[in-house]
Amino acid sequence: MSSLRFARAALRARPSAFAAPFQRRGYAEAVSDKLKLSLVLPHQTIFQSTGVVQVNIPAESGEMGVLANHVPSIEQLKPGLVEVIEESGANKKFFLSGGFAVVQPNSQLSVNAVEGFPLEDFSPDAVRSQIAEAQKIAGGNGSEQDIAEAKIELEVLETLQAVLK
């Protein structure tokens, strides 16, 4: 089981600079080279079946670059940066708080997240003060649940702080 996961991670862990399709299924019929992306939040639709070139997602199993014809898979997302490379060549970045990404069998990528914002919407000061707060609680004498929640916040905030630099 775990060897399969390692193999998968190796296959998928390519730098985002490469746009070369790595995995291609041998379909007889012509396959579209576009990936159809739906990136949705409960209160906002960021992309709705939009044709894009590549989407990089922070999966729990490792950073993934998804192109058309990627192997279907269900991925739990870590809080982190999602990068969308559009057909125009434009590169859009969003920090997502967490959720799931599903590569469907037909070059369709569905991403559901709870919160997501472009990087310019964030305040590094707010991140810094929250980290200080969370570190206090994580190292304190509160309940096991309070400490666990502080650690979740730290995971999110430290990732966010790193991408904001």
Partner: protein, 297 residues
């Protein structure tokens, strides 16, 4: 010349006399009653009209939230379509009813309760979770033994995803292992109509047994999390769409109520005028009768 003007008045007066023989005091009392009625109905019309305007303003926001929640919920459920997931029925079914606490919205809640009872007949011995005091009251009358959880303060305004997640967490705590969770909500057809529909929130077993799940690479632990997340996603969609239906139905109900009030106001206004004229006529008859009698003397 006096007698000619008097004749139609006398005729009308005698007609009044033959009908009810009211005294003038009674006439004025009736007038006051009608006045009172008119005042109340005008107040009601003001209130229902205000509520209609408020509902209209809220409807735009509620519809936008519904559209976003639909895109969100449908995207979340795409994987189950692709995997060809089917609800199992080997164990108990859980019905979740997405209603609210507020009334004056036409048949929103009763429609949901009726639909729930129908589904319950298909899956007898199901457990029921109800969101909202209105449907709770109705279902408690007919299916109290099936209720396991009820939630209040739901959908006062546009529901938040946090609401849906909190409900999902309580559902996850239920001791029973359900083979199927069916969320019953009002689907928005158009501004004039809605209809109860069901969203299926699959159990973990149903997901792992999906016909086409092998097409997907997936971590087992991730599947358990996916199940909880999808439940919250579908709940959120049902709550947001149900909320939009409710605002729309309230707008329509208040509009009808205002129209009815308006018609009643017209009717009572006509009645008031007739009564006022009858009262004046009655007075005239008395004066003229008295005058004629003293003239005859």
């Amino acid at each position: 010349m006096f007698s000619r003007a008097v004749r139609p008045a006398v005729r009308a007066g005698s007609a009044v006399v033959t009908r009810t023989a009211p005294t003038n005091a009674a006439n004025f009392a009736t007038l006051r009653e009608i006045e009172g009625r008119l005042k109340s109905i005008k107040n009601i019309e003001k209130i229902t009209n205000t509520m209609k305007v408020i509902a209209s303003t809220r409807l735009t926001r509620a519809q936008k939230a519904m559209d976003d929640s639909r895109a969100y919920g449908q995207t979340s459920n795409t994987v189950f379509e692709e995997a060809e997931t089917k609800p199992l029925d080997d164990k108990k079914t859980l019905l979740v009813v997405a209603s609210s606490d507020k009334g004056l919205c036409g048949g929103i809640h009763s429609g949901l309760s009726k639909a729930t009872r129908r589904v319950y007949q298909q899956y007898p011995n199901s457990d029921i979770v109800v969101l909202g005091e209105k449907a709770k009251a109705q279902l408690a009358r007919t299916n109290a033994d099936a209720l396991v959880l009820s939630f209040a303060n739901v959908c006062k305004d546009i529901p938040t995803f946090a609401d849906a997640q909190a409900v999902a967490d309580q559902i996850a705590l239920l001791p029973e292992d359900y083979s199927s969770v069916k969320i019953i909500y009002n689907h928005f057809v158009n501004a004039q109509s809605y209809e109860p529909q069901t969203i299926e929130a699959f159990s973990e077993e149903a997901i792992t047994q999906s016909a086409n799940i092998s097409a997907f690479e997936v971590d087992e632990e991730a599947l358990a999390n996916l199940r909880q997340y999808s439940l919250a996603n579908s709940l959120f969609w049902a709550m947001a769409e149900g909320h939009a239906c409710e605002i729309s139905a309230r707008r329509n109900a208040m509009e009808n109520a205002s129209k009815n009030a308006g018609e009643m106001i017209n009717k009572f206004q006509i009645l008031y005028n007739r009564q006022r004229q009858a009262a004046i006529t009655g007075e005239l008859v008395e004066i003229i009768t008295g005058a004629t009698a003293s003239a005859d003397m």
